[in-house]
Amino acid sequence: MQDTIVSIRNLSKTYAGGFKALKQVNLDIRRGEIIALLGPNGAGKTTLISTICGLVNPSEGQVLVDGFDIIRDFRKTRSLIGLVPQELTTDAFESVLSTVTFSRGLFGKAPDPAHIEAVLRDLSLWEKRNNKIITLSGGMKRRLLIAKALSHEPRVLFLDEPTAGVDVELRKDMWALVRRLRDSGVTIILTTHYIEEAEEIADRIGIITRGELLLVEDKSELMRKLGKKQLIMDLLQPLADIPDTLAHYTLALSADGLQLTHTYDSQGADADITALLDDLRRVGIHFKDIRTTQSSLEEIFVKLVEEAR
């Protein structure tokens, strides 16, 4: 059994207006992993994070962080957690250094200028330490929020849409930073609606919609289990029709008759490619090129969310 750092049991949240943002969510987050929570807008991702971090009161259920209850032992759990919010909320007229130092104090840690310097250097903000926040670019502000969250040396870091509105280059820098943090032993929980982000950096993926956690799976396992594969064959001679002897395969012929596509489940009985190729040769179909494709996480995600509707 893997070491769990965050344990969520039957967590529900109903807002004052009656809106159910979370419905009986159960989730174990493993120590040292990067888990991405994917879901459309309004799915409940931010509510889930906000509840664990103490911004929202849960309606029912329990959350343990490193074995401590987030309500009863809030001091212990919150000192273990760092939160980077989605919005770029900062004190515009504070300096970079003072706001990060403030965050460390707020989380009950004694001043440690060396640690603050290391964090700011790691995030390429040390040169800007005396600048007012209002003068920073959007990307720098995003990094500053991460610096604030790391100022008290958390063991669990929540990143709520960390690359929302961030350009491609900065996004890749952010992914590299997240991997470095994971390598240093920090558990990362990020929410995103960028599928490529989850595909790129997550170890596990949770899909959430309408307040329900549809599934949580290792990324590679998810793509293996739910991903459809296709074998695409470019034919030497155009084919008028698919022979009846091949009817038991899921084959599709292109309009010009020059491309034959076989769609199969990588785990299913129809995944025996050798048999298909033997049958094709037997009926005199020859091809000049062959390749396979696999459905992306995006296609899996869309399919799952549509099924949930």
Binding site: G54, A92, S103
Partner: protein, 253 residues
């Protein structure tokens, strides 16, 4: 107790005052000085002494109270309202900080600022009028109690307000008129019996009366009643803040 957090909030709020020195300290001192010029020198010269005290000196306690009340409320209310407005309150809510510790930080800073301001205004007034302080410890006690109580009241307003208009509503429409009508510039004994009775319903009268007694031993009501009233208001504010923490009113969803 998370002392580092209390210190961080306190220092953060005091740093904001240093950044806005003109607005926080200089502006109230100038406006109070103007009161001295207008009421003390221009009008006061034509008014006889009030119960043996020159009019300029008589209004000093009321003017200090006016500044203390309005600044305690505005400092504390802005201190907690602005993080709500800007969204930075997420950090306070996600930190290992109890609401009691947050109040100590915010209200402590607001009360400190008011205390500094009150002291500066007191020193400034000594430049305009001859001052005497008959009971300095009582004066300090009133200063402290007023700063803490009205900073707590400001904290409550800051939590309650969900826009800038509401933030200004109570200080502008309720507190300032109560201070002006609470005997800042006159003694209640100068009013007709009917208005004297009406004035007794103004809680600020008790503050100003007690504070003035510590200077000149002149009071509209007894010092014990004045102290009792401010302690009652302090308890009411503490009770309200306790309820806010318990329910998460306007802080947590």
């Amino acid at each position: 107790m998370n002392w580092y957090a209390i210190k961080a909030i306190y220092k953060f709020e005091m740093a904001r005052t240093r950044r806005t020195l003109l607005q926080s300290i200089v502006a109230p001192v100038i406006s109070t000085s103007l009161y001295f010029v207008v009421f003390g020198a221009a009008i006061g010269g034509r008014i006889q002494e009030v119960e043996g005290v020159s009019y300029g000196a008589f209004i000093v306690p009321g003017l200090i109270m006016l500044s203390l009340l309005t600044n305690s409320i505005s400092n504390a209310s802005f201190g907690i309202y602005f993080p709500k407005f800007s969204g930075t309150i997420y950090e306070l809510l996600s930190a290992p900080v109890s609401m009691f510790e947050a109040v100590l930080g915010y209200v402590g800073a607001a009360a400190s600022k008011s205390l500094i301001l009150g002291t500066i205004i007191l020193a400034t007034s000594a430049l305009f009028v001859p001052l005497q302080i008959a009971h300095p410890f009582v004066m300090i006690l009133f200063l402290l109690l007023t700063c803490i109580t009205f900073s707590l009241f400001g904290f409550i307003i800051g939590i309650w307000a969900d826009n800038f208009e509401k933030l200004q509503l109570i200080p502008m429409l309720i507190v300032t008129p109560l201070v002006f009508l609470g005997g800042s510039f006159y003694s209640a004994s100068m009013l007709s019996p009917f208005w004297q009775t009406v004035t007794l319903f103004n809680p600020v009268l008790y503050l100003i009366s007690g504070f003035r007694w510590s200077f000149y031993e002149l009071a509209d009501v007894s010092i014990a009643v004045s102290l009792g009233m401010i302690l009652m208001f302090l308890l009411a504010c503490i009770g309200t803040v306790w309820w806010i923490f318990k329910t998460g009113y306007h802080i947590k969803k």
